[in-house]
């Protein structure tokens, strides 16, 4: 399963599925791998166990085909992501570091964005909080210039996400590491 903004595709999927509501929860595939497939991801199971013991946080299993497949509903994913951020924020000031292989990035995650830029003429982009290969995206000329503008042909503006300029580039050890590397290269 991938993610799509095409209403026709989603409508067709809803019609084909016995539980039409389930089709509406199109979960990006990288989230599914990290957060929703209990059977294949020990890390997710750990998060779920942790979730249960924290006060004020409840995780809910979905019902229907998602649950049967060992998957969690989108709002459950969101609960887990919030939980993860909360845990991180205490230690690392709210970093998000998804572990996605380059092959998945190129073949699954980027094509819809590339199509939105090239085919639909997207003119505004928000750079993410995430690192890619340990370099914060908001400070990455590879993503903001090489890929976005030169490769995808983007001609709009890039806006940073909330406090990303401060948090992802400066206040963490990753920023220091990147700067250290930069200094070495320079």
């Amino acid at each position: 399963m991938g993610h799509t903004w095409d209403r026709g595709t989603r409508a067709a999927r809803s019609a084909a599925s016995p539980a039409s509501k389930a089709a509406h929860w199109a979960i990006p595939i990288f989230m599914r791998r990290r957060w929703t497939s209990r059977a294949t991801n020990a890390g997710a199971a750990w998060k779920i166990r942790t979730a249960k013991i924290l006060p004020g946080v409840t995780t809910r299993r979905g019902d229907g085909p998602w649950a049967a497949a060992g998957l969690y509903r989108r709002r459950d994913c969101q609960t887990l992501c919030r939980l993860q951020r909360r845990q991180r924020s205490a230690k690392e000031k709210a970093r998000t570091d998804p572990q996605v292989s380059p092959r998945e990035v190129e073949n699954i995650l980027l094509p819809p964005f590339k199509a939105a830029i090239k085919e639909a003429g997207l003119l505004g982009v928000m750079s993410s909080y995430n690192d890619y290969d340990s370099i914060p995206v908001t400070g990455s000329s590879y993503w903001l210039t090489e890929r976005l503008r030169k490769d995808f042909g983007f001609r709009g503006y890039v806006v940073s996400d909330s406090a990303a300029v401060g948090i992802s580039l400066q206040e963490t050890w990753r920023g220091c590491r990147h700067e250290g590397r930069r200094a070495t290269v320079d």
Binding site: G124, G139, L144, T145, G156, S162, V165, Q170, E179
Partner: protein, 75 residues
């Protein structure tokens, strides 16, 4: 923070959020330009991207939308 400003501007960032006091972003950026560690040409390029979009969507000709309902989706 100053180096974070330099890094993001050089990488290709056009607009910084959140909306914070000048000393968080724009004052350090001015210092960087004065020091010569960020080129004015780079800033021109970043501003050009924003202005291009504003011209493309016609914001200087029609600052207000006539059909606000068109922005609603059923997603």
């Amino acid at each position: 923070m100053k180096d974070a400003v330099r890094q993001s501007i050089e990488a290709g960032l056009n607009v910084k959020t959140n909306f914070t006091p000048p000393e968080d972003f724009i004052l350090p950026l001015r210092e960087l330009v004065k020091e010569g560690s960020v080129l004015m040409k780079t800033l021109d390029d970043r501003v050009r991207d924003v202005l291009r979009v504003k011209f493309l969507v016609g914001i200087f000709d029609h600052p207000y939308v006539t059909d606000a309902a068109a922005t609603e989706t059923d997603c």
